[in-house]
């Protein structure tokens, strides 16, 4: 993966969501996630509303449901935790399919599942429609400190190089008969990780030298991109782009008000 052409989380396309400026998408996604988190857990209808909203956005962005579902699997550890709660927590109990489950536990599990899934759904939609490079550009336009942008940008650039290096080291280990399957065979792998860390450190030094040699003095060069939209279009983009966040705010507001 590299910053230039996305990776497993980016789905190149030409939908309205893909074309929207990254800074608008970032703020909108942040707004939606905040609203989801702020919604009282017992306001079940509100979560349905969020799900519909995000579903509509995914449809607009033409993200295949299967693609999203596969990436949602990363949530599994939290799902396992959520499934334990109805059994583990005390308080009032209710019978579901012959099992006595804790009511506070069920609510806590629902809270984790619903908010986690919706939050992840939102992040995946953002990632699918915005390349890593655009995300950085969006953060930069939102005035994120340049040092952080520089670090993230270098990380994106070199993650592929480091993965390649790790792969070559693994092949070299396997070629010499190493087949780590059990924990007690992890010694060589652990040493490999240490070596990789040192190599990354050395590479960092060399990259820094190469940057200094081209006159770098600590500032990130500003991208030299011409403005492509008029003022009116920009206002329209912002209003349209932030509308999911505004809708979420209304849902969350009503949910808080009525509960």
């Amino acid at each position: 993966m590299s910053a230039g052409d996305g990776g497993v989380l980016h789905l190149p396309g030409d939908s309205a969501l893909h074309r929207l400026a990254p800074q608008i998408k970032l703020l909108a996604a942040f707004g939606v996630v905040l609203c989801v988190v702020a919604t009282p857990r017992a306001a079940f209808w509100a979560f349905g509303g969020f799900a519909l909203l995000l579903g509509a956005l995914a449809a607009v962005a033409r993200i295949p449901p299967g693609w999203l579902a596969r990436r949602l699997l990363i949530e599994l550890p939290f799902v396992v935790l959520a499934l334990v709660l109805p059994f583990a927590l005390g308080g009032e109990r209710t019978e579901v399919a012959g099992l006595a489950l804790s009511v506070p536990g069920l609510l806590a599990a629902w809270n984790i599942l619903a908010k986690g899934t919706l939050g992840l759904f939102c992040s995946l939609t953002l990632a699918a429609t915005t390349s890593p490079r655009e995300l950085l550009l969006g953060l930069q336009r939102l005035r994120t400190p340049t040092t952080l942008i520089m670090i993230s940008s270098l990380m994106l650039r070199y993650v592929g190089v480091v993965i390649g290096e790790a792969g070559r080291m693994r092949l070299a280990r396997i070629s010499r008969g190493d087949s780590p399957r059990f924990l007690w065979q992890a010694n060589a792998t652990a040493r490999g990780v240490g070596t990789l860390f040192l190599r990354c450190y050395e590479r960092g030094e060399r990259v820094h030298l190469a940057m200094v040699a081209r006159g770098w003095s600590g500032e990130l060069p500003e991208p030299n991109e011409p403005r492509q939209v008029t003022r009116g279009q920009e206002v329209r983009n912002w209003l349209l782009g932030l509308s999911p966040a505004a809708t979420s705010a209304v849902i969350a507001g009503v949910a808080v008000w009525t509960s």
Binding site: S2, A3, G4, D5, R133, S153, L154, L156, R157, Y158, G160, V161, R203, R206, V207, L209, A210, M211, V212, A213, R214, G215, W216, S217, P221, E222, P223, N224
Partner: protein, 266 residues
């Protein structure tokens, strides 16, 4: 060079490798340069070297001879503590470092270290932006540098997606865009397939820069550089025409250098 300039968009534009104003100054002049590592090991001992405008010089020597340490002195990345070092008459010292780094184009051995921006175009623009170039001037510089190395159509690709030879060309373009007076190449042929190696040589001959090329690749030195300097143990051991130096098998053997099997310098 003029041919290249014409190709790059007209005779009006300045050359990619600038020739400087004062022909009387050597492009590189260093004398009595001594450097020791922090642990006290002496890496360079009273090095003296003069490279005139338009000269292409190979810097030869075994591993650990001090070649890379010397190149890092040339643009002040390692400050010269003892001895005199000047680029085009300008002393390599703290107040001049910005100008020195513009004038000395250092191309590192591993392009992976040099190319760190998300796209080729941004990487080529990185140096000129640092030196204060903006707007159409910047675009023009990037365009010409990419055109000179034949990488225009790859401008928007990620460096990671390029082949070794292409990366080397882009690394060269990142330095050409800074309008250098002296091109310093560290092992330019390392890791390149024969065709990419030949293409890079043709490109360098076409650009015809004032150049210092660090290499173990002796035939490459013969092809590109009429003059060679042999460095060993931190000292200049020989400074002669390349063909003559490569014919001296005893000298080469004494400094752990040898020509590839079957190769005879003419």
């Amino acid at each position: 060079m003029d041919e290249l300039n014409e190709k790059a968009g007209g005779t009006e534009t300045a050359p990619l490798i600038s020739r400087g104003n004062d022909a009387a100054n050597p492009v590189l002049e260093l004398s009595g340069l001594t450097y020791s590592y922090p642990d006290g090991t002496e890496a360079l001992h009273r090095i003296g070297l003069r490279v005139e405008q338009g000269e292409r010089v190979a810097l030869l020597g075994p591993n650990g001879a001090g070649k890379t340490t010397l190149t890092l002195h040339l643009n002040g990345i390692i400050p010269a503590r003892q001895g005199h070092l000047a680029i085009d008459g300008l002393e390599v010292a703290e107040p001049n470092l910005r100008e020195i780094r513009r004038m000395v184009g250092l191309v590192f051995q591993d392009p992976e270290d040099q190319l760190f921006m998300p796209t080729v175009r941004e990487d080529v623009a990185f140096g000129p932006i640092n030196f204060g170039v903006r707007g159409t001037d910047l675009e023009e510089r990037v365009r010409r540098a990419l055109e000179a190395v034949g990488m225009t159509e790859h401008a928007d690709r990620a460096p990671l997606r390029l082949s070794g030879g292409q990366r080397k060309r882009v690394a060269l373009a990142t330095v050409l865009a800074c309008d250098p007076r002296l091109l310093v190449l560290d092992e330019p042929s390392a890791g390149l397939e024969p065709v990419a190696r030949r293409e890079l040589a043709e490109l360098l001959l076409e650009l015809n820069p004032t150049m210092l090329m660090v290499t173990h690749d002796l035939p490459y030195a013969l092809q590109l550089c009429p003059r060679s300097v042999l460095l060993d143990g931190g000292q200049v051991v020989a400074d002669r025409p390349t063909a003559e130096l490569l014919a001296d098998t005893e000298l080469l053997a004494a400094h752990r250098l040898e020509l590839p099997y079957g190769f005879r310098p003419e």
